[in-house]
């Protein structure tokens, strides 16, 4: 079976309309320095005729300035570059009504955030946080955001590049896609439980098992895509559906939509109970926290 793991650039060409990807340009902004955040690929393309911003990782690239960045890792420069691409998208459509704002397509194949000493001295947490806030802002402003997992969607890197999208799609595991915080063998070592036991439990409870199918059950992935050719139409259909959902005040997309989906699919059922309970308890004491007369 074929795989796109480690081939972010090839994945872009397979997803967008043939020959339509212009790297390094988003709205009025151009990214001219080839040595700036080379692990992140940003640009503009057409998807079934519609203009979209594309953000992907290049597993072949190596960041000379920050040697922990290779194999699609998101480093300091990469995180901020991805954030800039989102802000450039917001700026490009600032005058357009919400329904006309262009979509952002995140092509996901990343094994992690830059794990280094220099990264910690300067604050890697800010780079990955900056990108997430930019995506959340764009999503709330009306831009449809779709993440397409084509390879690795690992832990903090997936939080950074993927989990702020309106909807998340993933190629099925036959394509060697990986979605997890940690492989089950590492989880087993750290929490001191036998792998066999964890694998047995995972059949009924998907919360610590690795793979797209488990994330689907948890509501962490909206849709599984079974063929490479199926990606473009699936993403286009999601973009149209997201636009519809955003015009309906009751429809939820993004992390909250996936929260609701987690309950619906039976993977995360206590979350809504907890939040309802907090609301009930606060309602009972709310008066104490209102402006006091006199």
């Amino acid at each position: 079976m074929e795989t796109l793991l480690g081939q972010g650039r090839a994945a872009i060409d397979l997803i967008v309309d043939a020959g339509s990807f212009t790297e390094g340009t988003v709205g009025a902004r151009t990214f001219e320095d080839p040595d700036f955040g080379p692990g992140a690929v940003v640009g503009t393309a057409l998807l079934e005729g519609e203009t979209v911003t594309v953000i992907a990782s290049d597993a072949e690239a190596f960041n000379e300035k920050f040697p922990v960045v290779y194999s699609g890792i998101i480093g300091l420069e990469e995180g901020y570059k991805m954030a800039q691409a989102v802000y450039a998208t917001l700026a490009a459509d600032a005058e357009k009504e919400a329904a006309k704002k262009r979509a952002i397509v995140l092509i996901v194949d990343t094994p992690g955030n830059g794990p280094g000493k220099v990264e910690e001295i300067f604050g890697m947490n800010k780079a990955t946080g900056a990108y997430q806030l930019a995506l959340a802002e764009a999503r709330l402003a009306g831009h449809p955001i779709v993440a397409m997992v084509v390879g690795r969607a690992i832990s903090g890197a997936f939080l950074c590049h993927g989990l702020q999208a309106d909807r998340i799609l993933s190629l099925t595991s036959e394509f060697q896609t990986m979605i997890h915080v940690m492989p089950i063998t590492s989880v087993s070592r750290i929490i001191k439980k036998d792998v066999e036991l964890l694998e047995e439990l995972a059949k009924a409870n998907p919360v610590f098992a690795a793979g797209p199918a488990f994330f689907f059950k948890l509501g962490g992935v909206e849709q599984l895509v079974e063929t490479i050719d199926g990606m473009r139409p699936a993403i286009a259909a999601q973009i149209a559906d997201i636009r519809k959902a955003k015009s309906d005040a009751k429809a939820l997309t993004g992390p909250r939509g996936r929260g609701a989906l987690g309950a619906e699919r039976g993977g995360r059922t206590v979350r809504p109970t907890v939040q309802a309970l907090l609301r009930t308890e606060f309602a009972a004491v709310e008066d104490r926290f209102r402006p006091q007369a006199g």
Binding site: K65, F66, V68, L76, E77, Y80, Q84, Y87, A91, P115, G116, K117, V118, E120, I121, F122, G123, M124, N125, K126, A127, T128, G129, A130, Q132, L133, A136, E137, L140, S155, G156, F158, L159, L163, Q164, V181, M182, V187, I191, V207, F208, G254, P255, R258, G259, G262, G267, R268, T269, V270, R271, V274, Q275, L277, L278, R279, F282, V285, F289, R290
Partner: protein
């Protein structure tokens, strides 16, 4: 409930999550929501046959500082390292959402309500991020918290308080970075990748995780204050954290924008100047950056009393 006055002089570092929650707000004002009697335990720990806590290791509630309703989230490092799973994440998101909704209701009813009477969120972090026992649910919960923080923007200020044993790492490291203002003590630590993982990635020669001083120089409160990541560096007492929080409670939400590190295109440009400096300096040690910021004796500065440090430190200008 713990004795409020006695709590004030306690070391913040030594306090458990509930003591911090109670002590940060006005005496007698804290109301716990989703407390132990509600038995909000993690079903996933139950499935694994692990011990549970009835608050899942996160204390949530609401109190007051003066007229201001303060929605509090306080993480308990003594329970599985303060890790966040489905229940704890849902409590965090629920509290932030309720603060935003309450703010919207109050502002609709009282358009002239002064800032000092509008809701604020305070988060006392003590966590390594995702709870591995329910890793996937914890990961999804982190994404919801980030979304909630963006929704709070320009409405409800969110203040991070970091001065507990475990520090604030993993996914919660970027949650803290995404808040409006960060208050740390010198014992607080803030980062993304924990020291052991850096050592594993880079080798012991590059980074020795057992070297406590090195670890603090890289992610500790004094360093984060030099970098501008921590807005305020306070003494290690509940009273000191509370005093700083109370000072912030006087400010309108617009005043918090100037304290942020990230969250706008301009701030991204500013941070990128720091990244360019990192590439140019290639620091072997945080001390190299302190020196660049104009501190001629970084060793003396790191080891001296906190009061002297605050008086004489030069912070990095980007």
């Amino acid at each position: 409930m713990p004795n409020w006055s006695r709590l004030q002089t306690n070391s913040f570092l030594e306090c458990n999550a509930r003591d911090r929650a109670v002590g940060l707000v006005d005496e007698g004002s804290f109301v716990e929501l989703g407390g132990p009697f509600d038995r909000l335990v993690s079903p996933h720990l139950v499935a694994l046959g692990e011990a549970v806590e009835n608050d899942d290791g996160i204390v949530t509630g609401v109190g007051r500082i003066g007229a201001r309703p303060v929605f509090v989230i306080s993480q308990e490092g003594r329970f599985i390292g303060g890790s966040v799973g489905e229940v704890g994440g849902a409590k965090m998101v629920g509290i932030i959402d309720m603060a935003i909704e309450f703010n919207d209701r109050l502002v609709a009813e009282y358009p002239d309500l002064p800032a000092s009477a509008r809701p604020l969120v305070a988060i006392s972090f003590e966590t390594g991020g995702v709870r591995l026992h329910e890793a996937n649910a914890g990961l999804l919960a982190h994404a919801e918290v980030m979304d909630a923080l963006q929704r709070a923007r320009h409405k409800v200020p969110v203040v991070a308080l970091i001065g507990s044993r475990i520090g604030c790492f993993g996914g919660m490291g970027f949650v803290a970075a995404a808040t409006d203002a960060i208050v740390m003590s010198e014992f607080g630590r803030l980062g993304l990748t924990g020291p052991e993982v850096i050592e594993q990635e880079m080798g012991k020669d590059e980074f020795d995780a057992s070297n406590r001083a090195l670890v603090y120089r890289t992610t500790g409160g004094r360093h984060k204050y030099v970098m501008g990541d921590a807005n305020f560096l306070v003494d290690d007492s509940v009273a000191a954290f509370r005093a700083q929080l109370a000072e912030l409670c006087a400010l309108p939400v617009a005043s918090f924008e100037a304290m942020r590190r990230i969250g706008s295109p301009e701030l991204v440009e500013k941070q990128l100047r720091g990244v360019a400096l990192a590439a140019e300096l290639k620091p072997d040690d945080a001390r190299d950056v302190w020196r660049h910021a104009g501190n001629n004796d970084p060793v003396g500065l790191a080891d001296g009393p906190l009061a002297d440090f605050r008086k004489s430190v030069r912070r990095l200008a980007l």
